[in-house]
């Protein structure tokens, strides 16, 4: 089983088990869009309010990345600098963001926001969420 597939399966079980109230917050947006603005792993531990708070703090810390378009562009660029279309399939988006997050941690591109040690990509997702 691929790691991503495993994680997706495990997420469903875990979400039920720990009753993280994320789902109710995420109503009203497409699942596809949520893939971009909701950091998957972090959202297992934080509710949407916390994610938005993190996003606001990140935007304050990184004013040069202010704006939906800038953030989207940064998020939808792969590690080789190639732009990925927002309309690409959800699976590809998940793979892209997962890879970027992993790479951020490996490269120490991390931020501490509301106490959470997170990847820069996750912080950018939160920033975009806070503008949504």
């Amino acid at each position: 089983m691929k790691r991503r597939t495993f994680l997706l399966s495990a997420t469903a079980v875990t979400l039920a088990a720990v009753s993280i109230p994320a789902i109710k917050y995420f109503k009203g947006r497409s699942k596809h869009y949520d893939t971009i603005v909701i950091p998957d792993e972090l959202s297992r531990f934080c509710d949407e309010k916390t994610l938005r708070d993190i996003g606001i703090k990140y935007r304050k810390a990184m004013p040069q990345e202010e704006g939906k378009a800038v953030l989207k562009k940064l998020l939808l660029t792969d590690l080789n600098g190639k732009a990925i279309s927002e309309k690409t399939d959800t699976y590809t988006l998940i793979e892209l963001l997962d890879t970027k997050i992993h790479n951020d941690f490996e490269s120490n591109l991390i931020f501490i926001m509301d106490g959470w040690v997170i990847a820069q990509t996750e912080a950018r997702q939160c920033a975009l969420l806070s503008l949504t």
């Binding site: 951020d104 959470w116 040690v117």
Partner: protein, 514 residues
């Protein structure tokens, strides 16, 4: 042989080959190690065979600086010493702990880890630990359920700990000492003076006293001070008739560099799957467990001290209160009762939730770190005297900005590693992000008293040399954690026993030559 110094004739003159002052882990280990080599070993214990509050009161003193445990309660003054209340947690020092690190002021021992490590196996046996093999591989082979987290060992490595029952030296080694043909144990024999030769290059005799008013003297070829870091410093400082600054204190180092281990709840580990983390958890009958330790490479790179993180289910962790608040009673028996009460409560809650898997998804992170050797952190003499007329010891515990920097970086690194491994996220506690360079007041120590007669080959930088002999005094040695030049990030008892065995072997060699 056991002799109660209250019962013998006043002004008794006692003679022996070796005089060991203090019958705790260090003193008892040395006495038993020397037992077969010498015919007459004098072991002096200030207290009796059981707790005596009047004796314990001799340890009372005042605190200044960073909040600390009551002086009267944080060590025990009877046969067996502080092993009467220790928790049994043991692990070994690392190579880097002995190194001179240019980013750690006053670091560096005149010996290497291997000089101590060869005594770890015997110390392991004395402390009733399961194995002298401290490698992760050994424990993984023993138990297939132990699984390390998939972290980069160049950043965070898995350091093994073992748990002593805990061995109470006062119980376990009582018969061996009392029935020994070569060890004379004197109880209620508090050292009140060390009489030196005129030029203070050797000790002539020791004066002991107890609250009956009886005074005795002890003459020996060599003397070993083994009565805990605070008391070793106090005795040396108080012996100031011939040396105005105290014995071994020509360079004003005795009592300085008091160190503890910085201990504090520091964060939360949230896993994206439930995992009992058996390797890392401590339960009632756990014999071994691992901690997540910062690698030497990262210590160098980040210019921080040594340290590690232990884990416990977050539900339990959230119920714990800082040790400095928990063990705040002046009476050591009451502090122990409080500790037991909280332990029982935790166990009950733990059992109730044992079958709830969700408790194995989130863990409280607890950091234990080395403290910078700081000359301002010190034991000093008080103007107030105890019942036997000896100035009391006061403690000023001082921490440094690098102590906080260390705790912050260890926790941040673990967060980075957990994220890189894709197994969850780490949340740091607020105090790590408050911008203050000092750790908060509720930062606790572990009842680990270290460093007041630190080891160095340079008399200007240390009180004892590499053999634990006081600089300039030919026959006076110090045993135990007061000799530590740096504190490492592990509880001290295993190394106290190892370094004491090393001293005992040095004495054997020295006296064989003489």
């Amino acid at each position: 042989m056991l002799i109660d110094a209250r019962q013998i004739e006043n002004n008794t003159k006692i003679e022996g080959d070796i005089c060991i002052i203090g019958a705790g882990a260090a003193g008892i280990s040395i006495a038993l190690e020397l037992e077969k080599t010498f015919k007459n070993i004098i072991l002096l214990e200030g207290g009796g065979m059981e707790y005596d509050d009047r004796i314990q009161e001799l340890y009372n003193g005042k605190l200044t600086g960073h909040p600390y445990y009551p002086m009267k309660a944080s060590r025990l003054h009877y046969f067996g010493g502080s092993t009467g209340h220790w928790g049994g947690m043991c692990s070994t020092f690392d190579d880097i702990d002995f190194e001179k690190r240019d980013w750690v002021e006053n670091s560096g021992w005149p010996i290497k880890r291997e000089d101590i490590a060869k005594y770890y196996p015997k110390a392991t046996s004395i402390l009733d630990l399961g194995s002298s093999d401290w490698s992760l591989d050994y424990w993984l082979k023993k138990d297939a359920d132990l699984k390390p987290l998939p972290l980069d060992s160049n950043v965070i490595w898995t350091k093994m700990w073992q748990f002593s029952p805990p061995t109470r030296f006062g119980k376990k080694y009582k018969d061996a000492i009392v029935n020994s043909k070569t060890i004379q144990l004197y109880t209620y024999a508090n050292v009140v003076d060390l009489d030196a030769t005129e030029n203070i290059t050797a000790i002539n005799q020791v004066t002991v006293k107890n609250y009956t008013g009886k005074v005795h003297t002890v003459k020996a070829k060599n003397y070993i001070l083994a009565c805990s870091a605070m008391q070793n410093a106090r005795v040396l400082l108080a012996c100031n008739k011939q040396a105005p600054n105290g014995l071994g204190n020509d360079n004003d180092i005795v009592g300085r560099y008091f160190m503890e281990h910085v201990e504090i709840k520091s964060g939360e580990l949230w896993l994206n799957h439930t995992d009992k983390l058996k390797l890392y958890l401590m339960e009632q009958f756990t014999k071994e467990r691992a901690e997540l330790a910062i690698s030497p490479q990262k210590q160098r790179e980040l210019q921080i001290l040594n340290g590690s993180i232990s884990l416990m289910p977050l539900e339990m962790s959230n119920k714990t209160i800082p040790s400095v608040k928990l063990w705040s009673n002046d009476d050591p028996r009451k502090s122990l009762d409080t500790f037991k009460k909280y332990s029982t409560l935790d166990k009950r809650n733990f059992i109730q939730r044992f079958f709830s898997k969700s408790i194995f998804q989130s863990y409280g992170m607890f950091t234990r770190a080395e403290q910078l050797p700081n000359p301002q952190s010190r034991v000093v003499l008080s103007n107030e005297k105890d019942e036997l007329g000896i100035p009391r010891a006061n403690l000023h515990w001082a921490l440094s900005p690098i102590d906080k920097k260390t705790v912050f970086n260890i926790n941040k690194l673990l967060g980075q590693q957990i994220g890189a491994a894709g197994i969850g996220r780490v949340k740091l506690r607020d105090f790590l992000l408050d911008g203050d360079v000092q750790l908060p007041d509720y930062t606790s120590g572990g009842w680990h008293h270290l460093g007041t007669t630190r080891m160095s080959e340079d008399p200007k930088k240390g009180v004892v040399d590499a053999n634990c002999k006081i600089h300039g005094i030919d026959n006076l040695y110090v045993a135990g954690s007061s000799c530590y030049a740096t504190g490492g990030a592990v509880n001290p008892t295993l190394t106290v026993v190892a370094i004491s065995l090393r001293l005992a072997n040095h004495i054997k060699e020295k006296m064989a030559i003489v």
